[in-house]
């Protein structure tokens, strides 16, 4: 049986974006998925704007450090230091909220989805908001461009260089961390290089660092300019040349294609397909747009086994709900708490390997929490779950008696709270105005779920409020979103 346009388009929108938005519901059955994909590509055409959330106060302070550095004053006042930490933390939080807002509202869904993928691939923890902004911009700008350009931009970002200790990588004191992760996690994958390659590559990256503003700096006097041998090639390589050597390896195309396949198509890799993708990706000199087009316009992408086969990541889940049910959140903190409780907080990956994904999203606590979200946003349930402390962010301050200190951790220390979402149901409810009453549950289900199976309609009805047509549509929607099936896309 061939699949309807609606099913295929929902599949496409969940994978190439963050799920269908309520205003797109009308079009889902009108267009072919090829046409919809064309639209997605076009909407992601433009170079994204730089997201700048750092406040002027912090910018002033950072300029102050620079000035102090120039005047050789070593210590800055303690209060300033503390303020810088606090403002940075708030900055990264704003960046998180801002970007999530983009994921919900931007029509450049393909670009934001790819950026989200690269955000996990080039996973980086860094408490400096300027560095994080720079890295995010490098990723969003190159998300659909050339993988080599993206790799180089990330490798030269202050966020990554600092996170992977390349500031400490000097001619007389090599630090291999950066070189190792570039090979293991960003390009070749484990087992495709030797320890000797890591050592030699690390020498080539000596002298790569950044200044306080977060600009890339090549410190020539720290650079080891002697000859190195990496993956069988010998020469007086610098970092750029080593990245070129890594890109020359077909294994890099293979590694990336497999990861892309797992993320966008199916957790279980079909090697025939991923090899075909890798081949073309390599031949195109790493054109990411081409790779995505190969996937989203192929017939096999729309195979039944790939539809509804992925467990949504926490961010995909949270963004997806908001795209379908536009809402204004009085208490945006709650979104941060949910990210943490569910195990995926933007800008705080578990480590440089990123979020492992798939089944690892699900344990008893996270699953129950996921299924409670719809009632939480409807204020019918209370957020009574406490996430674990994050000491990298809190630095021991969560114990402080001082109220101001604790206040500075807003969003990190939860209170018992309701989310206070103000959902705009108008457009959503209107979408069903011509649906017969008996078919309501079915058609709501079809829009919300990608799985073939669904919770029994009669059961959903039992828990829906049949007081009015409108309340029936609303409560049915929230109950269906509270099922295991809704966790999949």
């Amino acid at each position: 049986m061939s699949l309807t346009n609606q099913v295929k388009n929902q599949h496409l929108l969940w994978r190439a974006g963050f799920g269908p938005a309520v205003e797109e519901l009308d079009d889902l059955s009108k267009f072919s998925s090829k046409q919809v994909y064309k639209g997605l590509v076009k909407a992601s055409d433009k170079k994204p704007e730089y997201i700048d959330v750092a406040d002027d106060y912090l910018k002033g302070l950072m300029l102050g450090i620079e000035e102090a550095g120039r005047q050789q004053k070593k210590e800055m006042p303690k209060e300033d230091k503390k303020m810088i930490q606090q403002k940075n933390r708030e900055g990264v939080r704003s960046l998180n909220m801002y970007w999530m807002h983009e994921m919900v509202n931007s029509s450049a869904q393909l670009r934001e989805k790819l950026s989200f993928f690269w955000h996990g691939h080039f996973a980086c923890r860094n408490l400096n908001v300027f560095y994080q902004q720079g890295l995010l911009d490098a990723i969003r700008t190159n998300a659909l461009g050339n993988f080599g350009d993206l790799l180089k931009a990330v490798s030269k970002s202050s966020a990554m260089l600092n996170f992977l200790n390349n500031q400490q990588n000097r001619k007389d004191h090599p630090n291999e961390n950066f070189a190792r992760e570039v090979m293991e996690l960003f390009t070749l994958g484990r087992g495709n290089y030797t320890e000797h390659d890591v050592k030699e590559a690390a020498r080539a990256f000596t002298g790569w660092g950044s200044n306080l503003k977060g600009e890339f700096m090549f410190r020539k006097f720290q650079h080891d300019s002697d000859s190195k041998t990496v993956l069988g090639k010998t020469g007086n390589f610098d970092g750029d040349k080593v990245l070129d050597i890594l890109l020359e390896q077909k294994q890099t195309a293979k590694f990336i294609s497999q990861k892309v396949y797992k993320f966008f198509v199916n957790e279980t890799i079909d090697t025939e397909k991923s090899d075909w993708l890798a081949d073309r990706f390599y031949k195109s000199n790493y054109d990411i747009s081409g790779l995505m087009e190969d996937i989203f316009t192929s017939d096999w992408f729309y195979d039944e086994k790939n539809i509804g086969a992925k467990i949504k990541s926490p961010v995909e889940l949270l963004v997806g709900i908001q795209r379908m049910l536009p809402m204004k959140l009085e208490n945006e903190e709650a979104l941060m708490l949910l990210q943490r409780v569910l195990g995926q907080m933007l800008f705080y990956p578990p480590n440089v390997a990123g979020w492992p994904g798939g089944k690892s999203w699900i344990d008893s606590s996270t699953l129950m929490m996921r299924m409670r979200i719809p009632l939480l946003i409807n204020d019918a349930d209370e957020m009574n779950v406490k996430p674990k402390d994050d000491d990298d962010q809190m630095m021991g301050r969560q114990n402080m008696e001082n109220k101001e200190e604790r206040k500075s951790l807003k969003g990190l220390i939860p209170r018992r709270q309701v989310i206070n979402a103000n959902i705009d149901w108008n457009l959503y409810v209107k979408n069903f105005e011509n649906t017969e009453k008996e078919k309501l549950v079915d058609s709501i289900s079809k829009i919300l779920l990608q799985t073939k199976s669904a919770v029994d309609n009669d059961l959903i009805k039992q828990y829906s409020d049949a007081g009015s047509r409108e309340s029936f549509i609303k409560t049915t929607t929230l109950q269906i979103m509270s099922t295991p099936e809704y966790q999949l896309c």
């Binding site: 509804g308 699900i362 039992q462």
Partner: protein, 399 residues
């Protein structure tokens, strides 16, 4: 007799409830009850990087006092264990355990190429990985994988928390997080979830949706099971009214029940004492001391102390020198407490760290924490440590 009757009624009602459960859940029904003498591990995680040097104090070491003019704990204030070694003044209960022969102190525990990020170092401890590799399963989780492949008993490892730690996540089986057995997943929608589950007809399969239903089924039935068990022999002892006190009381009540739990996991923090260390460590140690003291007393009066091994760990210790803010910064190797009535080696198991032999101001590790894990897995839990840790680590002699 009254207790017996109560047990009967509760087991009875559980059995009735399980008739309505999907087939793949029935594993619970015929499950072997756990006899007394069954070994249990309680893991107490000190989050944030506890300062080991002010925990087990080298009270006659000049370098210690020179490095910590303000933070060093005076010999007269420390609770002295030997001429050379004292405990933090708040740890009175641990001093009693030491005198009693039920405290072991393992010094200089760490791992090669230590990482100073809380998150990363905690990852390394919880996954029992090398610092150069990224592992996505925890060591207790892999213990679950090895112990009960094919069975549905996530209650073998319970974390007293709202959120499950990586340590508790296996490849196929996860432990379960429970903050309070009475209000487990207490949600307005609970009845709906139960109905959704009852309504699901598919057998356990390979598809992700089956995995979700399986997890949901395990969660709800484990919640019931844990709740029932926690009521069987609830501890009647006095515990401090702190978070940790409540958690330890929950653990004791479950240990006294017939539940099949082998590993309990609980955290205390934050020990990240960059500033005002004195106050912060004092407060946290008081909480730990009172809770552990009550727990041990409770276990002893129920004759279960010999079956329980409690140990503490932290993601790293702190630097030897104090900083300028009345605190200490992230360091490396650290000590661990082992508390049990069944210890083979007691007191100071190995020497204090050598402050003359530092690595750029940091302690050098002498014992890999994975040796401690291997010992506990193998000798206490009778498990295949080589498989779980995917490496052979020599066993230590404290068990």
């Amino acid at each position: 007799m009254i207790i017996k009757r109560k047990e009967f009624i509760q087991i009875g009602s559980l059995a009735t409830a399980s008739i309505m459960l999907p087939k793949f859940l029935k594993a619970f029904e015929g499950q072997a009850m756990v006899p007394a003498g069954n070994k249990v591990v309680v893991i107490l995680q000190l989050s944030g990087g506890n300062d080991g040097l002010n925990t087990v104090i080298p009270i006659r070491n000049d370098i210690y006092y020179r490095s910590r003019p303000r933070l060093g704990i005076e010999k007269t204030k420390a609770l002295s264990l030997t001429d050379e070694v004292g405990l933090h003044p708040a740890l009175t209960g641990f001093k009693e355990l030491y005198d009693d022969g039920s405290l072991g102190i393992m010094n200089s525990v760490g791992y090669p190429n230590p990482d100073r990020s809380h998150f990363r170092s905690m990852d390394i401890w919880q996954t029992a990985s090398q610092s150069t590799e990224y592992v996505t399963t925890g060591w207790v989780g892999r213990y679950l994988d090895a112990q009960c492949s094919g069975c549905d008993k996530p209650t073998q490892a319970i974390e007293i928390d709202d959120v499950l730690s990586l340590a508790m996540k296996g490849q196929n089986i996860n432990g379960i997080a429970v903050k309070d057995p009475k209000r487990l997943y207490g949600t307005a929608n609970e009845k709906f979830f139960r109905d959704v589950l009852k309504n699901h007809k598919n057998e356990a399969g390979e598809k992700p949706v089956d995995y979700l239903y399986k997890t949901m089924a395990q969660t709800l039935s484990s919640a019931d099971y844990i709740f029932q068990q926690s009521k069987l022999h609830p501890s009647s002892a006095e515990y401090p009214k702190t978070d940790l006190g409540n958690s330890m009381k929950t653990i004791a009540s479950l240990i006294f029940s017939d539940i099949n739990t082998k590993v309990y996991y609980v955290s205390l923090g934050s020990f990240d004492t960059h500033v005002n260390q004195e106050m912060q460590q004092q407060r946290l140690f008081t909480e730990m001391n009172e809770a552990v003291k009550a727990f041990v007393k409770d276990l002893k009066s129920n004759s279960r102390f010999n079956d329980v091994m409690l140990f503490t760990f932290s993601e790293f210790g702190r630097r030897v020198s104090q900083n300028a803010s009345g605190g200490t910064d992230h360091g490396t190797a650290n000590n661990m407490f082992l508390v049990s009535g069944g210890l083979k080696q007691k007191g100071l198991i190995n020497p204090l760290p050598d402050l003359n032999d530092l690595d750029e101001g940091d302690l050098k590790y002498k014992v890999d924490f994975k040796n401690v894990y291997a010992t506990i897995l193998n000798k206490w839990l009778d498990a295949d440590d080589k498989k779980i840790l995917s490496n052979k680590y020599d066993h230590l002699n404290f068990i």
